[in-house]
Amino acid sequence: MKKDIILSGVGGQGILSIATVIGEAATRSNINLKQAEVHGMSQRGGDVQSNLRLSDDDIHSDLIPYGEADMIISMEPMEALRYLPYLSKDGCIITSSKPFVNIPVYPSEESLQAEFRKLPNVQMADIEQMAKDLGAPKSANMILLGMAASKIELLSLDKLRSSLSRVFARKGEKIVEDNLKCFEAGLNLKSK
């Protein structure tokens, strides 16, 4: 089995932490992984993405071919749409619904929603607001991971939980708890 995932967002939003947790879980589950990241100029408030490939078989290319991503996980709605050609026809989009507007022209809310309505599998949530309500405003990205978690299939939920704890351990217990709380909230959202 393979899972090809595109993570997207705006530089600084925390997509690489999602990748780090998945990467840690994959390594400990003996699942092969390749993960191409963007470092550099675009991290300064520009669009960023990461190609994350998981498989129990060999993975050759670091990049996902067109039409083969099983999932786009995005911290920002317009950024989710940027990678549409990579999405498999039966793939899903899991995205924050809240636009991050740091550019002079940004598509209208209606046009955004119209684009998403054209797609078969879209799951959206105002993860920023949810994270705030949970008292963990900096952990919104883990809500997204929670929303995606059961679709990753190659990695068990418990592995993801323990990897999350390991990745954030050096930042202290409170941060680990915040992130776990958000992860669970995302997971529950999904099953609703």
Partner: protein, 547 residues
Amino acid sequence: MKRLLLGDEALALGALNAGLGGVYAYPGTPSTEITEYIQGNSLSKERGIHTAWCTNEKTAMEAALGMSYAGRRALVCMKHVGMNVAADAFVNSAITGVNGGLVVVAADDPSMHSSQNEQDSRFYGKFAMLPVMEPSSQQETYDMISEAFELSEELHLPVLFRMVTRLAHSRASVEISNPLSMKQYDAASEKGWVLLPAIARRQYNALIEKQSALQKASLETYHNRIETIEKDPRQPEIAVVASGIAYNYVLEAVAKYKGNLRILKISQYPLPEEKIKRLTKGVQRIIVAEDGQPFIEEQLCKSYKNVEGRLTGLLPRTGELTPDTVASALGIETKSYFQPSGILEARPPQLCPGCGHRDVYAALNKVMEDYPKGRIFGDIGCYTLGALPPFKALASCVDMGASIGMAKGASDAGLFPAVAVIGDSTFTHSGMTCLLDAVNAKSPITVVLSDNLTTAMTGGQDSAGTSRFEAICIALGVEPEHVKVVVPTPGNIPSITETLREEIQYKGVSVIIPRRECMQTLKRHQKQTQSQKPTDNQISSDNQTSK
């Protein structure tokens, strides 16, 4: 033991475990993480390995050559354009040869994700007549870097090690070996290091004689190998030369391919001639897939017909390869996919909120309103983003240090006012020599040395001249009363504007130094004082804006 590593980190750890004595580098995407990994590793602290950043790529190359001379294994790291800066030392190091193993890493950036060109460093290797290695995966990177040191010592030549962005910045699991002890040989004592013409001629001939040994190494290495894929015996075989990571894209395509392929994987140069002969024997088509410029393709064209690749349009002439472009070159149809959304807006990078460069441009633009014929020559760093809206302030950005040189040349031609904007790290990298030219010519230029106390664009590395810029400028001959420090904040914009106006009127070189710490390093320093720093090579976090 297995570890999840970026290509850059695999290289770093491989070099460390090969008994490295020192890394010499100037930051530059996508090479920066190599040196940062070595800096953060406990083994390099234990062993006292040299890891401090150098002033530029040339000083790095020269110091590494010195370490090699003295008998230790040395690593030089830079981005591809750094090779232009290090070229004099690099090309001549092929003539002197080396003592301790010397590996020069050039990290190329096809598609120019964070660069001003996509030059292919393999040409430098061929030009200098040196072996070039080009791994295809993170594991191969780890394995080949120690082989590079061995080859360097065996041939007594530097080895060029080529990385590309997609490998440098992609993670995979890597099997790690135990560290070797640090190598220490006697210092060199041969005459070959003194490149007077008589000696240089002899050395150059020796280098030419060594070429057969390079050829032999390329033939024998496991990393250059032929693999055949037969799916339909009735169909003809196609030969594919796949270098570096292009090999992965070919393998990715093979799963969907219905015909027969004879693949030559290339990860070491010079091209292994015998293997190419074997590969091409009896085939109708030879496809070359290489990430970068058509380096192999141009060479094969000379001896073989029916070579196809970037030059023939089978693959795009520019930009990095992708699994899709390679699959399509093999005639494989892409899966059906969603059309790009029509409502997307570009989201270019921008200066951080609160960044001091912003205030500098606000003031500069105000002043330049009065001088429609004046120009601001830019340079390379975060402040290059001043070329984009809302500032649109810059007339040029070419190579590191060029702002001052271009302002001088433009002023020689009568352009007024000629203003240069340069960052602190770029100034010490290669702006100081230009400033000396301008001082000697008494050029009426205004240099804005925007000092954020760090090398910000590449993620906040130490900057070579921090806290000494006034002294450096005065020592280079700028009149002390025309070296002025200002603090770039929104509130100070009026007074900075005043200072700029005065200095533009001065008929000689003036240097204005807006000085305020980078917002990114400021945040990091604040965090550090709050909590403890992460330990040994912690996995990256998003704030680690490196390039």
